[in-house]
Amino acid sequence: MLGFSNISLSNFLFWATQKKWFFFSIILGVCLLNIPSPEGLPNEGKIAIIILVVALVLIIKEPIPLPAVAIFIIISQIYSNVDSVDGIAKSFMSDAVFFIMGSLMLAVVIIRQGWDSRIALGILKITGNKTSNIALGFLSISALLSSFIGEHTVAAIMLPIGMSLIRFTSSDLSQIKGLSATILFSIAYGCLIGSIGTPSGGGRNVIMINYLNQSDISISYFEWMVRTYPFILFQIPIVNWVINRTFKPEYKILDSSIRKLVIKVARSKSMTGRNTLTVLIFFLIVLGWVFLSEKFGLGTVALSGVFIYLIGGFVKWSDLNRNTHWGVIILFGSTISLGTSIRLTGAATWISDKILYGFGDVISSVPFVSDLLVIFMTTVMSNVLSSSATVAVLGPVTLNLVPEMLDVGLLTAMSSAFSYFTAVAAPACTIVYSSGMVKASDFLKIGFRVGFVSIILLIFYVNVYWPLIN
């Protein structure tokens, strides 16, 4: 046909089918561009929303590489005059992006310090040999650590401990499906639960602080903890109960597997002075987040830590460079810049007005509806997108829904951690899923239960506890 060989036609067709979602998103974007702006929505706002819709399709379906999506978001905003080059560049490199960059780099350093064996011994000393207590131990330690370190780092540290315990119980995994799921979901969900506890628990918390700061609202590290940490403490026993009830571990006592794990840990390399120094430096970083972040930003403190690790020779740049996903960093930068544009062009106000209009008096007259609405939107989106990207694009909208911006901002950040339903929504879940010991259907099975319980608990929490401390 037209001089093309069958192989080149076949190559073209393959390329086109691989990119079908890209073509779909572009056609969708062009169609939306040709629809006149609705009343009250400025043209720049309409374009910003269209870029968001196209970007969401591209991020979820991944027909093109994520860095390409990031570049698309940036250039399309500039070409369509949504914002100036300087404006985009300014919103692109925010403290939130510094934090995400620093946090991913810190993960590379921390994961390799041999903390896993110490943590394993610590958990087993506290919990003893009862399976339900061990699961609670995994859930609690994962939650506690991820509230400071970041869910992905903790999941990577905890996974080998959990898998070793499972393997020492039985080499035939089909005989211990319930136990495997109990231990591994305790790790994954522990990481998610804990990540809301402090601003440094996840990039999404810092993104929300960034948006709150743009609206002249500030919240310190400690204030954030006071408002969110008790929720973690409520969630831990309840989620532990739900996990145990759902998967029903085959063994109630894990005596011999614990002994084997202790022997394995005892044989592993002992921590060196350098490993201890790494821990001390990380402790200083946490102190920096608590006391200096309001002035200098969480990202600056995280990058300072990376700087110390680099000049101290604790990690090589080549190692950081190889293991840091720069594409994800620039994608977060671009989604934050798009979120800022959505706010500045009035698109966020327009969307929230439409939502408020759609619900009529229900939001103001029926209690908890506004909370439920924010939680529902955020939970759904964070399960198909990613929690940080969800906060980046949804944050400006939810902040306009109710007058109490701080409360709704925190509510958005907290519910973005409810990525319980799919294996791909949160890095902690993907890491656990990659072990091959749990199935994608397990996430749905337990996700609905934990998600439902967490939503009810959060509504109860924000309406009872927050009024007490306000």
Partner: protein, 294 residues
């Protein structure tokens, strides 16, 4: 001759590996066994890699290594690889990452040429296509997927002949069904059918179906040559002609005991993409192994 055998799990891939290795032996082919693991979201890919590194320090294998180990044990038990290599078990330390997202181990075969084991991650069609292009394979062998789209994509985008294995058992298949028409380009298909028939020690049923709407064509010299070629190979054969709907007749004739060997469609890729093809319809509807020769 180079053959690529795609396996996916210890539970379901045994028929594929069994038939695949028999065919590889028949062709004395250089064989690669590949496991394509699930695609990881780009968002978390780097973090998952970090976690996998951490798991390796606790003596856990990367996902998919267990499937390759199972394949190695199968080869070893059936003496399809050099016994010197089987003494110490699966050589995990020789599983080399080539930096292109593939982990591989080289083994030397006994019944066929070298056997390689490869591990890749990602979209199955894209990964197989890349591997076939990279390794210039002649035949790709894999199990049947329940997804209809997958058969279409395999036929459309994999640039090699395809053997789709459906529930293969040694005793069950006693014939090769060779649907032939009087068009050119059938000699290669006949050669493949003869090799497979010799490997499985079965006869060939040559089957010519005339479309019920078209008038019957007369046999060509070319067709006689093919029949002569099969006769000379020493394989027992029979020839039957029938009129009717082609796909339906082939499936009916294949029944549950014949392995189909047929020619891929001659249509242009765009026509095939839009209209489908006879081999695709047969592949979708039959319950027996089918080799589509490109």
């Amino acid at each position: 001759m180079k053959i690529l055998i795609a396996i996916g799990s210890k539970d379901f891939s045994k028929p594929t590996l069994k038939l695949g290795m028999k065919v590889a032996q028949a062709f004395n082919a250089k064989t690669t066994i590949i496991d394509v693991g699930e695609k990881i979201s780009e968002f978390s890919s780097q973090l998952v890699e970090l976690a996998q590194d951490q798991l390796e320090s606790w003596d856990f294998d990367a996902p998919g290594v267990d499937v390759l180990e199972w394949a190695f044990n199968y080869l070893s038990q059936n003496k399809l690889i050099d016994t010197k290599q089987t003494e110490t078990g699966f050589p995990k330390n020789r599983l080399i990452d080539d930096g292109e997202g593939r982990k591989m181990v080289y083994l030397s075969g006994t019944a066929c040429e070298d056997v390689n084991l490869i591990l890749r991650n990602g979209d199955i069609i894209a990964e197989l296509r890349e591997e076939v292009q990279f390794g210039e394979y002649d035949v790709t062998i894999l199990g049947k997927s329940r997804k209809r789209n997958m058969s279409h994509d395999l036929l459309q985008y994999i640039n090699s002949s395809l053997l789709i294995v459906n529930d293969y058992e040694d005793q069950k298949f006693d014939k090769i069904l060779l649907p032939l028409d009087y068009k050119d380009g059938m000699l290669k298909v006949a050669k493949y059918a003869i090799r497979v028939a010799l490997a499985l020690n079965v006869g060939i049923d040559i089957f010519t179906v005339f479309d019920k709407d078209k008038s019957q064509k007369k046999g060509s010299n070319y067709f006689s040559k093919i029949i002569k070629f099969i006769r000379r190979s020493g394989v027992q054969y029979s020839h039957e002609e029938k009129q009717g709907e082609i796909v339906e007749q082939i499936i009916k004739k294949a029944d549950k005991n014949k392995i189909i060997v047929m020619k891929a469609s001659d249509m242009s890729p765009i026509k095939r993409f839009l209209k489908g093809s006879i081999p695709l319809s047969v592949m979708n509807e039959c319950d027996v192994p089918i080799l589509i020769v490109k």
